[in-house]
């Protein structure tokens, strides 16, 4: 039953994305930035998805510390992995965007910089988990780390923004303010599709994680006997 729902969600997401890509391709090129501007339709949703995933990780981490139930730990790591994946998408789309416009592969635009710092933070979380063998300790410590990392999200965002106001550099989109209505609709659909994919990926990863934990504990039991 659960699998069917996941399949449907994934299918729906892909259908939406396919349709959106078709529609986007037929939009006229943007005034200043040409067709490269259309990357925003994937750049922004990946940000929304990453943000949602990371917030989910925080909530699961807090719940684990309160309840000590391992399903929350599994959700935390699954959500963080998906979050890092979407942050990577954000970095790559940002880079792909900068290249045709400015001829550079990277710009220290405030959003991109924040994405990079968060990528380092949560990538560190994943590496940290690999360094701890014992499951209870691993879950507890990563939950604490997740809380610290999430506190960093608003602090990073604001400080990097202030930094950028003092040290201006190429910015590729000032704001999504002047967006024509039908473009806004497509953006909305894309965001929804990405969120659906987030749910699907987290669910898949969650199952994988729980299966792995069972194997580990069976292995441990076998060793003890």
């Amino acid at each position: 039953m659960r699998e069917k729902i996941l399949y449907l969600l994934a299918l729906a997401a892909f259908v939406i994305l396919a349709r959106d890509i078709y529609v986007i391709a037929r939009f006229p090129p943007e005034m200043n930035q040409g067709n490269a501007f259309k990357i925003i339709f994937f750049h922004v949703p990946s940000w929304v998805a990453a943000g949602t995933a990371v917030a989910t990780a925080l909530i699961s981490s807090v719940l684990f510390l309160i309840t000590k139930s391992f399903k929350f730990d599994a959700t935390a790591v699954a959500a963080t992995e998906v979050g890092v994946a979407f942050l990577t998408v954000g970095l790559v789309t940002g880079s792909l965007w900068a290249r045709p416009i400015w001829g550079i592969w990277w710009t220290w635009d405030e959003r991109l910089t924040t994405t990079l710092v968060l990528w380092l933070l949560y990538g560190g979380y994943l590496m940290f988990r690999h360094a701890i063998e014992e499951p209870t300790q691993r879950a507890t410590f990563s939950a604490v780390l997740s809380i610290f990392a999430f506190i960093g999200v608003p602090i990073d965002y604001f400080s990097i923004r202030w930094w950028r106001t003092q040290h201006p550099s190429p910015v590729f989109f000032s704001s999504t303010g002047s967006f024509p209505h039908d473009w806004g609709m497509v953006m909305g659909w894309n965001i929804m599709a990405f969120l659906m994919l987030t749910v699907v990926f987290v669910a898949i990863r969650l199952e994988q994680e729980q299966a792995q934990r069972e194997i580990d504990s069976l292995r441990r039991m076998a060793h003890a006997l």
Partner: protein, 244 residues
């Protein structure tokens, strides 16, 4: 017959009068850490040597004679501080590992927050010492007048260093008995320190170039908020890390 000592009271176990305020306990921990470190001076010497080495190396990358270098030399200073500071902070909880000393500290009637605060303050003093020695050397190597606004500079040093210390000490506790500890600590600490380092760098660059803090209070606010928020988070969560 009245028993006069515990040895003569067979079944009574006296409740010993105790004197243990939180402040006293924190001071005991600070004294212990400082005494242990100053007896060997391993971490402090290593940190100082490292700081000097980086200062020298940077001078090859960024020529101090150039006028432009002065504009961002203040930023370089904080990279030196962050790297050298990690050498001290790494040892913080790691020094409790030999002989299982951490067990005795956890078993003692002190809270995790007290233990953390004591260690953080001891670290703070050690890292500040390294920084204060490096600062004039930095000034000499890079022709930088860091003393023009002396007390403001000290304020930035104090706040920025506390940010580094709090995160470094907390992560020292988090990485205490995991694999690749010496790699994981810097890997986790530096991204977390981005806002604090950014603010400290900006403030230092400003001060060195004659702009006093009042002109742009945003960065001081960032530093102060960083310090307060993460100190609170650490004090709250450290017990879970130590005991589970």
């Amino acid at each position: 017959m009245q028993p006069t000592t515990i040895a003569e009271a067979p079944s009574a176990v006296r409740a010993a009068p105790v004197r243990s305020s939180v402040v006293h306990q924190v001071l005991v921990i600070i004294a212990k850490d400082l005494r242990a470190e100053l007896r060997t001076k391993e971490a402090v010497n290593a940190a100082l040597a490292f700081a000097l080495t980086i200062l020298v190396l940077f001078s090859f990358a960024f020529d101090p004679v150039e006028e432009e270098t002065k504009m961002y030399a203040g930023g370089l200073l904080w990279i030196v501080y962050a790297f050298a500071g990690t050498l001290v902070l790494n040892r913080s909880f790691a020094r409790e590992l030999p002989n299982d000393c951490l067990d005795a500290l956890i078993a003692a009637p002190i809270s995790g927050a007290v233990l953390f605060l004591g260690k953080a303050l001891a670290n703070y003093l050690l890292v500040m010492a390294v920084e204060l020695v490096s600062l004039p050397i930095f000034g000499i190597f890079y022709y930088v007048h860091w003393y023009d606004h002396f007390w403001q500079m000290m304020l930035v040093l104090a706040l920025g260093t506390w940010g580094i210390t709090v995160i470094g000490t907390m992560f020292s506790a988090l990485t205490i008995n995991i694999r690749l500890r010496e790699v994981m600590l810097p890997l986790l600490t530096y991204p977390m320190l981005v806002p604090a380092l950014m603010a400290s760098m900006q403030l230092t660059v400003d001060l060195v170039n004659g702009r006093v803090i009042g002109s742009d209070p945003a960065w001081i606010r960032v530093l102060v908020s960083f310090d307060i928020i993460y100190t609170a988070a650490a004090l709250f969560l450290v017990e879970i890390v130590l005991v589970g």
